[in-house]
């Protein structure tokens, strides 16, 4: 059924991963960074699905579920933290949070 070669799928995952990566690097808004990380995680999940589909195993999909769980947990904590930071810094600029350096 799957006529799609694995490299194509992995390529798509890779491209999505890179887009997320670019976004993390160029964005300063912490929420955007969080979103971008989600894109990357999603791309990783996609890669698992592709690989799982290639080997016709459920393992890839199961990994995706775990990734999903992790993403949810991560986002919830992340958002809570972002709220805190917004309270304190009155900004979402990640560059502003640079009191610690050197």
């Amino acid at each position: 059924m799957s006529a799609i070669p694995m490299e194509t799928g992995l390529l798509l995952a890779g491209v999505l991963f890179m887009l997320g990566l670019i976004s993390v690097m160029i964005r300063r808004n912490i929420i955007f960074m969080l979103i971008s990380v989600e894109i990357m995680l999603n791309a990783a999940g996609l890669a698992f699905i592709v690989a799982g589909s290639h080997w016709a195993q459920p393992d890839g999909q199961i990994m995706f579920i775990f990734i999903l769980t992790m993403a949810a947990a991560e986002v919830s904590v992340g958002l809570a933290l972002i709220l805190q930071i917004h309270h304190q810094l009155k900004t979402l600029n990640s560059d502003a949070a640079n009191f610690m350096k050197g």
Binding site: V50, H54, L89
Partner: protein, 484 residues
């Protein structure tokens, strides 16, 4: 899942149970002391349950986990460290206005994550263990919400950890894609057929190294470490420096020993570069740093570099050396951060070098403990750190990793400088202006646990330094089981 499976996971079950009980207790009514006792007791109980597993041999819980001597030893190490950290935490959090109870829950959860890591034989359990650890740490790092630095540290760790997790996952996916299995043993058999690693697999390994490297805070994935160390509460910092890294290192060793990654020059080269860079960068960064927590962060980067030297030997002796060094490093780091925690006051942690000026004259005992810890980090005899460093050097010389060994020696000297610098500051003559006691301290009895813990740590450190045979026997005994 059978009953025996559960028996073999007893420590984890105890900890999970403790988490649940804790939440119930909080629901009934908040009490710091009760939470503290529950945590400590559960760590102890979990540790005690390990004695049942001592001679377990190799018990596999397909496909995710395996309980063997190596795992049991590492779990034991993690549990004891966590116990010590919780002991040190009580006084630290007692003087803070935050709600203290969740801290213990998160600590237990993070410990569970680390324990899962060291017994995992599957990417799924590896990933889950890592994430349990990480997610708990996000909250732990930012635990003291009144400090803006905590938040900053928290968000930095969160974004960067998630970012690196993505790398790890993508790498795992590639490995999975190329081998068709996520079990370590399966991967091992899969790549045993290859004479040379296929590029896809190599890429996967490379990306995984990014994720693992981040957790280990080795160069060039180290930049978060000083900021997070500085921002996090002192006990949490101790936890990151020890349990978190120990867990990851444990799984790294297990994975590499299983697939025998040392056969591949590419991987060895990568790790060699990383090790050298970590040693150099860590020590150089710490050189003139004036923030003690940051110094310890940089020094931990360097120490991970040292550990990688032993790791790179890729033989039984190297694993033993890593393990031994980790024990020494755990004791020392917990001790050092324990001192930091002890000296911290309500408003901020005692992290500036100035805070330690003339400490010897103000609080001789604390200063002595800290000195011993620093000397151990520097690898001076009579401390466990010396034996550890010796072991690593021996392993390195045995495998003739001359470059790494010489770099290690060179870096030890640079390292000496900043450790001794702290000692020198502590030993300076007291100025009249230095306040004799930090502000707003609690009654002394609260520090009992901290003082006791530090004493135990110091004695342990010196004991291992003077008579390492006992520990060596245990390590050899336990690890011999691990690698048949």
């Amino acid at each position: 899942m059978t009953l025996t499976d559960f028996q073999h996971l007893m420590p984890l079950l105890i900890l999970t149970f403790a988490v649940l009980v804790s939440m119930l207790v909080i629901a009934v009514g908040r009490n710091h002391k009760i939470m503290y006792v529950i945590t400590a007791v559960s760590f102890l109980a979990a540790f005690a349950s390990l004695f049942e597993l001592r001679d377990v041999g190799r018990y596999t819980i397909e496909p995710l986990l395996v309980v063997d001597g190596f795992g049991v030893f590492y779990i034991g190490m993690i549990l004891l460290t966590a116990l010590l950290i919780s002991m040190l935490s009580y006084a630290y959090f007692e003087q803070r206005e935050e709600r203290k109870e969740e801290y213990y829950i998160l600590l237990l959860l993070a410990t569970i994550g680390a324990c899962v890591l060291v017994i995992s034989t599957h990417f799924a359990s590896l990933f889950l263990g890592l994430e349990i650890l990480s997610v708990s740490l996000y909250a732990l790092i930012a635990y003291l919400r009144t400090r803006e630095r905590s938040d900053e540290a928290g968000i930095k760790y969160l974004i960067l950890a998630a970012f690196s997790s993505a790398f790890l996952l993508f790498g795992m996916a590639l490995v999975y894609a190329s081998t068709g299995t996520m079990e370590f043993a399966g991967i091992a058999t899969a790549i045993a057929n290859f004479t040379e690693l296929p590029l896809l697999l190599l890429t996967g390994f490379g990306l995984m190294i990014v994720g693992i490297g981040f957790k280990l805070s080795v160069v060039p994935f180290h930049m978060w470490a000083p900021d997070v160390y500085e921002g996090a509460p002192a006990p949490v910092t101790a936890f990151i420096a020890t349990v978190s890294k120990g867990g990851v290192l444990g799984v790294l060793i297990r994975f590499f020993m299983e697939v025998d990654g040392f056969r591949y020059p590419t991987l060895v080269l990568i790790f060699t570069i990383v090790a050298i860079a970590s040693m150099l960068a860590g020590n150089l960064l710490a050189l003139l740093q004036r923030n003690v927590k940051r110094i310890l962060a940089y020094s931990s980067i360097a120490h991970l570099g040292y550990l990688l030297v032993a790791f790179l030997t890729g033989n039984q002796m190297g694993v033993e050396a890593v393990t031994f060094y980790l024990v020494a490093y755990f004791i020392t780091t917990v001790g050092a951060f324990g001192v930091v925690a002890m000296l911290s006051d309500k408003e901020r942690d005692a992290e500036q070098l100035e805070d330690y000026r003339a400490l010897l004259w103000r609080r001789p005992w604390t200063a002595a403990v800290f000195t011993v810890m620093l000397l151990s980090l520097a690898g001076i005899p009579l401390t466990a750190g010396f034996v550890g460093k010796f072991y690593i050097l021996a392993a390195g010389v045995n495998t003739q990793l001359w470059l790494l060994v010489v770099m290690l020696a060179l870096n030890s000297v640079i390292g000496l400088f900043y450790y001794i610098r702290i000692v020198a500051v502590m030993f300076q003559q007291a100025d009249a202006e230095v306040e004799m006691e930090p502000r707003g301290r609690l009654r002394p009895s609260i520090y009992l646990a901290s003082v006791g813990t530090l004493t135990i740590l110091t004695l342990l450190l010196v004991y291992i330094g003077v008579y390492p045979t006992g520990l060596l026997q245990v390590i050899e005994g336990m690890l011999a089981v691990a690698t048949p």
